[in-house]
């Protein structure tokens, strides 16, 4: 892949004695939607946190937008994060602010726009995620799917280059799931973003993404387009893509040396 926007090189990450990522390399190209997949607890969220600079790898390097995120000071890192939108696992809306104020927060913090301009942009963004008219609602009165869409609007309000999604569809009903999926695609294409989605939902991934990385047992085991991966004959890839119990990916927390390990989700 030429000119990747995110370049992960030989990254090693450890929590205590537990190796979470072992020598993982990925190139994520500009534009398009990329998925990082794998069983729960394999380290998908960890990769997102490495990309956003919340965690530092013990070995290897991570380059985002041409900058080594693991080596930046807090001020430089914060500067860099203005180009990255993040949608956390359950949306993480500010519970004491209205929907409008939630989406307006990044604009108020990072731009000098006047009240009128802010209001215009927020309304337009809420409209684009199908939530016109919800401005004055409080987050607790939103359904799961609506909260996710507000969080999406908030994540892209500053027109970032990259958006990271942590399990954007988990816990949603099938209709909300498809809605969020379609919105991710629309937003990605209309704003020219690069979207990185962390998920373990294979069927959604097949519909939505352009390229996919599969992690198992702390390692990257396969990458390619969804079609290529479906045809992949590697037993671990086949097990994950088809959700089989039997196979090299174990669901035990720790296994004796030599075998694959993947902890149950938490």
């Amino acid at each position: 892949m030429k000119d990747p926007i995110i370049r992960i090189r030989n990254v090693h990450f450890q929590r205590g004695d537990k190796v979470v990522l072992d020598d993982v390399s990925m190139d994520i190209g500009r534009g398009g939607i990329v998925a990082i997949m794998g069983p729960s607890g394999v380290g998908k969220t960890t990769i997102l946190r490495l990309i956003s600079g919340q965690l530092q790898p013990s070995k290897g390097s991570i380059e985002v937008n041409g900058k080594q995120v693991s080596k930046l000071s807090r001020r430089k890192l914060y500067e860099c994060r203005k180009d990255i939108g993040v949608l956390l696992q359950n949306g993480a809306l500010f519970t004491d602010l209205t929907v409008f104020e939630n989406v307006a927060t990044p604009l108020r913090e990072h731009t000098d726009l006047g009240e009128e301009e802010i209001s215009e942009r927020v309304t337009a963004k809420l409209d684009s995620v199908g939530l016109a008219g919800t401005e004055e609602l409080m987050p607790h009165s939103l359904s799961g799917g609506m909260a996710r869409r507000v969080a999406l609007a908030r994540a892209v309000i500053l027109n970032p280059k990259i958006v990271l999604f942590d399990e954007p569809m988990t816990g949603l009903d099938p209709i909300a799931m498809s809605t969020v999926g379609r919105l991710i695609r629309e937003t990605n294409d209309s704003l020219g973003l690069t979207s990185v989605i962390v998920t373990h939902n294979v069927s959604q991934m097949k519909k939505l993404v352009d390229y996919c990385f599969i992690l198992a047992s702390a390692k990257l085991i396969a990458e390619g387009s969804p079609q290529e991966l479906m045809r992949n004959s590697d037993p671990a890839v086949d097990q994950f893509m088809n959700g089989r119990v039997e196979g090299p990916i174990s669901f035990k927390y720790r296994e004796d040396a030599g075998n694959a390990t993947a902890s149950p989700g938490r």
Partner: protein, 256 residues
């Protein structure tokens, strides 16, 4: 060897934590910018914290004033000096009881809710979301609450003292029938501005900073779980109560 190690860690842990908390304070103060937003959110928090604690502080102040004058009159009568009651009540209120009791009540009422609020924001990833939006939560969340604590404690102490005096007046003049003229003139001539009044004000400012620092610190570093939030609140009350009393002794020995 192992035991020695753990014993050493037990000894060092509080010292390390104190240092960590000090650094947190530095980071908080270092993020002060003279902007409208800080002013607005600090005023907002002052209003919230003040409004939360006001009623309980008025009620407690009133009864402390009553019981204080009851005890004083009872003791002073033995020497036939019950007309000195306002002096005794006033001195002990302005110097000690006002700032200390207000700080303890404040820790239980406002301190816990600050710690729980921030801890909950952490448990629901709101703090993380802010960091990811390149907004410093220390500046936006912790700082206004800390400043609000420093501002509201002296004001609440003033309310406490006012209601305690009201309680003392009602009891000693209303119930015991002391002469109001003597009561007020003793108070007026016997209480000194710098020594008695300002001494209490300094204390309450320090206590305000202490309690709200502990509350935001424990909230900010709470484990992001329900249990973590609970632990943070409990530790906030316990530690800030103990420290208020220790600091009270230290400050008194310098101020007296």
């Amino acid at each position: 060897m192992k035991m020695e190690q753990t014993r050493k860690n037990k000894l060092l842990a509080p010292i390390a934590e104190t240092g960590h908390c000090g650094l947190f304070l530095m980071r908080m103060l270092g993020s002060i910018r003279l902007e409208r937003q800080l002013l607005i959110s600090t005023l907002q928090q002052t209003y919230l914290i003040g409004a939360r604690s006001l009623v309980i502080i008025m009620i407690c102040g009133f009864f402390v004033g009553m019981v204080l004058s009851l005890q004083s009159i009872n003791a002073l009568q033995q020497f036939g000096a019950s007309d000195q009651v306002s002096l005794l009540v006033g001195k002990s209120l302005f110097r000690e009881l006002g700032p200390v009791l207000t700080a303890l009540l404040f820790a239980g009422r406002a301190g816990t809710s600050i710690a729980a609020e921030i801890g909950l924001m952490k448990a629901t990833s709101q703090i993380e979301a802010m960091q990811l939006m390149a907004i410093d939560p220390v500046q936006r969340i912790a700082l206004p609450r800390f400043l609000a604590g420093v501002i509201s404690m002296p004001l609440l102490t003033a309310m406490f003292n006012a209601f305690a005096l009201l309680g003392a007046v009602m009891f000693s003049i209303g119930v015991m029938g002391l002469d109001p003229g003597i009561f007020w003139s003793k108070l007026h001539t016997g209480i000194y501005f710098t020594k008695d009044f300002m001494g209490g004000v300094w204390k309450s400012i320090v206590f305000g900073g202490l309690v709200s620092l502990i509350a935001v610190y424990f909230g900010y570093y709470a484990k992001p779980t329900g249990e973590g939030v609970g632990t943070a609140t409990t530790r906030t009350v316990v530690l800030s109560s103990v420290l208020v009393l220790i600091f009270d002794f230290i400050m008194t020995s310098f101020l007296i």
